[in-house]
């Protein structure tokens, strides 16, 4: 099917179910997509075939189903040469970006690490202080009460720190995953177009 036939058929299919203003926007969008595919080296018929039948597209539009079209990227040999020659520049920049991302993650996780260590030591020393405090009764009642008080305080403080660690870890794990997956998503979206 040729480009003009595709657009005509699409317009006819859309006219049954879509508002006239939206028809114009959709036709422009699909026309632009065909142009993109032709620019990538596909013939007009191949580009139209890649999009699918107009009837299916309209059906998918009304069911809100996503159609993903893979756009092939053809690399020129000159680009490979440029990539190899430019490695000292883009390689060091890439390394700097990776190290920057790693340092951001490291700084981000310093908070939960600190509260986690404080929490564990607080809870353990609190339990030890409370459990061992009765042994101090022979040395003086004030020592017993002091140690018991400090133990209870440390236990509460440790528990609070552990709760903070849990909350922060939950928040930061999402952020870290986003940091790690972001370059991959960028690369995938570069090669796909969602209709």
């Amino acid at each position: 099917m040729e480009r003009v036939d595709f657009i005509k058929e699409l317009a006819a299919e859309l006219s049954y179910k879509t508002k006239p203003r939206e028809i114009h926007q959709l036709i422009d969008y699909y026309d632009e997509m065909i142009e993109d595919l032709i620019e990538e080296g596909l013939s007009e018929a191949e580009a139209v075939a890649r999009l699918g039948k107009p009837k299916d597209l309209v059906k998918a539009l009304h069911t809100e189903e996503e159609i993903v079209v893979e756009i092939p990227r053809r690399f020129h040999p000159f680009l490979y040469v440029l990539l190899i020659l430019g490695f000292p520049l883009w390689g060091s920049l890439l390394l700097a970006a990776i190290l920057l991302m790693l340092s951001v993650l490291l700084v981000l996780w310093c908070g939960p690490f600190t509260t986690g260590i404080l929490g564990i030591t607080g809870v353990l020393s609190g339990i030890a202080s409370v459990v061992l405090s009765p042994l101090l009764i022979t040395d003086g009642l004030f020592l017993l009460f002091s140690q018991l008080g400090v133990g209870l305080f440390l236990f509460g403080f440790g528990l609070l720190c552990l709760l903070a660690t849990y909350r922060m870890s939950k928040l930061f794990s999402g952020l870290s995953m986003a940091c790690i997956l972001w370059p991959r998503q960028l690369l995938t979206n570069y090669r796909k177009k969602v209709i």
Partner: protein, 54 residues
């Protein structure tokens, strides 16, 4: 599955801290607010609380 309310845990932690402060203050008051009284001649392994004095 047992679910523990996080707000409840925060309140419990704060209650422990508050109780600890009161009991600790009572102990310090019983010593006559004297830091020196915590310095025993023979310190036992189970005495975990002390004051550092030069």
């Amino acid at each position: 599955m047992i679910t523990i309310n996080k707000k409840f845990l925060v309140s419990v932690s704060l209650a422990f801290m508050f109780l600890g402060l009161i009991v600790g203050f009572v102990g310090f008051a019983m010593s006559g607010f004297s830091v020196q009284s915590y310095q025993l001649d023979e310190r036992h392994w189970y005495q975990l609380v002390n004051f550092y004095t030069e």
